[in-house]
Symmetry: C2
Subunit: 261 residues, 2 copies
């Protein structure tokens, strides 16, 4: 029996999703709790990697069991009691045997939050950045991302991506009532480090280091050294993962939001 598990995690205390020999990871922590609860070794396959310190408002993984769970809701409830406070499971649902959390994902969405002032309540949840940013200009630059599909500029050196091709369907900034900037980007896939490098470079556009034409030249250069330094992990959230509707549908309220209001 194969199950999809929907979860959210605060990445602050983890070396990312992916299991490692040393250091706490979300995958390692989740597998430990599943193994304890179900009294047999459970391995999970996640929708993708997230880097050290990066959050997931919504994440999907799959795992297999020899016998079906009698009450998946109850299993999720007990799992939450076992897991630390920075990982929350919202649902465990049976899926078709071949369904794959990573390979069947059609699109992913990331969001990045920037707050332009000191705020005692959002530390660790946003990038607090105390300069003026020209959001209109950042949006004109962000729109260019939809015209390209080779994102080598924003790839990580020595990462083992077979290809640096990504199809970006959405990329843009909005400003909340609270004055917090939110960057949303959707694509079929993302390269390691890509969103943070894109955000860092767009912020350099917003503060006047580059104009929109220079941003275009940077994207076209496919030269890793021309990307700005990556924006800090604390502002980045994996926000959505989409599957073919016949395979898996995201549950209502399946994500946890970094907001109390």
């Amino acid at each position: 029996m194969r199950y999809f598990i929907e979860l959210s995690y605060n990445g602050r205390n983890y070396f990312g999703w992916q299991r490692q020999p040393k250091g706490a990871t979300v995958q390692g922590t989740l597998e430990g709790a599943l193994t304890t609860l179900l009294r047999r070794p459970v391995e999970t396959t996640g929708a993708g990697r997230t880097d050290t310190g990066v959050h997931a408002a919504y994440y999907v993984a799959h795992f297999d069991l020899d016998e079906p769970l009698s009450d998946p809701r109850h299993t999720a409830y007990k799992l939450n009691a076992l897991l630390p406070c920075d990982i929350a499971v919202s649902r465990i649902a049976p899926v078709a045997d071949g369904a794959h959390a990573r390979f069947d994902a059609l699109e992913r969405e990331y969001r990045y939050f920037i707050e332009l002032r000191k705020n005692p309540f959002t530390r660790g949840s946003v990038w607090q950045y105390y300069r003026t940013l020209d959001v209109g200009r950042m949006n004109r630059a962000a729109a260019l991302l939809l015209e390209y599909d080779d994102f080598t500029t924003f790839a990580k050196l020595n990462s083992n991506n077979r290809t640096n091709i990504c199809h970006v369907m959405q990329a843009g900034w909005s400003v909340s009532e609270q004055g917090v900037l939110c960057f949303r980007i959707r694509a079929d896939r993302f390269l390691r480090n890509m969103v943070r490098a894109v955000v860092g470079t767009l912020v350099d556009v917003g503060r006047g280091r580059y104009d929109v034409g220079e941003f275009r030249a940077i994207v076209e250069s496919r030269d890793l050294s021309r990307a700005s330094s990556g924006a800090p992990a604390e502002g980045l959230y994996l926000w959505d993962v989409t599957y073919p509707s016949g395979l898996f549908r995201r549950s209502e309220g399946g994500a946890c939001m970094p907001s109390v209001m």
Copy 2:
């Protein structure tokens, strides 16, 4: 010269606002930073006490200086650089000599946030409470608070309030899109511990321990032992302090919100 200072603080690491011989307080930390920056001892008078662990999205204090500040905005900016990340100053503004942050305050508003599920991003910012609550019933009970002015039931034993009379102008619950419950209460004054005791008792109404009639009887009893145990400090925020408009007007964006969205 008298100044009003508007600030926000995350109460998690403080023994409340009020200066104490031992333990970090917001007032002590603020006065330390002002004294360092202005190179002379500065004492502040706050709009009121907040208890250990309680937050303030908006707080006002006053202080006096022999010579006027040449650039209060710049002073606020430098003060933020000196203060720890959990205290943020939004404005320093000159006021009339007799203006008093505590005695001239007309109304105060507190808000209390409850989230009914595990959320890795709101720990320390809300009360995570995993039961079902009947918000309609909690609102019918909350409305009764406007009919009474003696809040002895919700006072703290041995506190040195001269009177337990408070005029409540607003008291009610709302539910955000995210499913977070928010209790708003406005009054001319609050007793120590009062909001947390009111919230704790209303939650007992919401989970079915008391009906609305019993809640009324508890309020009327003026018996401290009949209030439920107080809701945890982490969900409570001083949210607003109002002064006569000729004396002081709250600045736009003077508060920091516990939200990134």
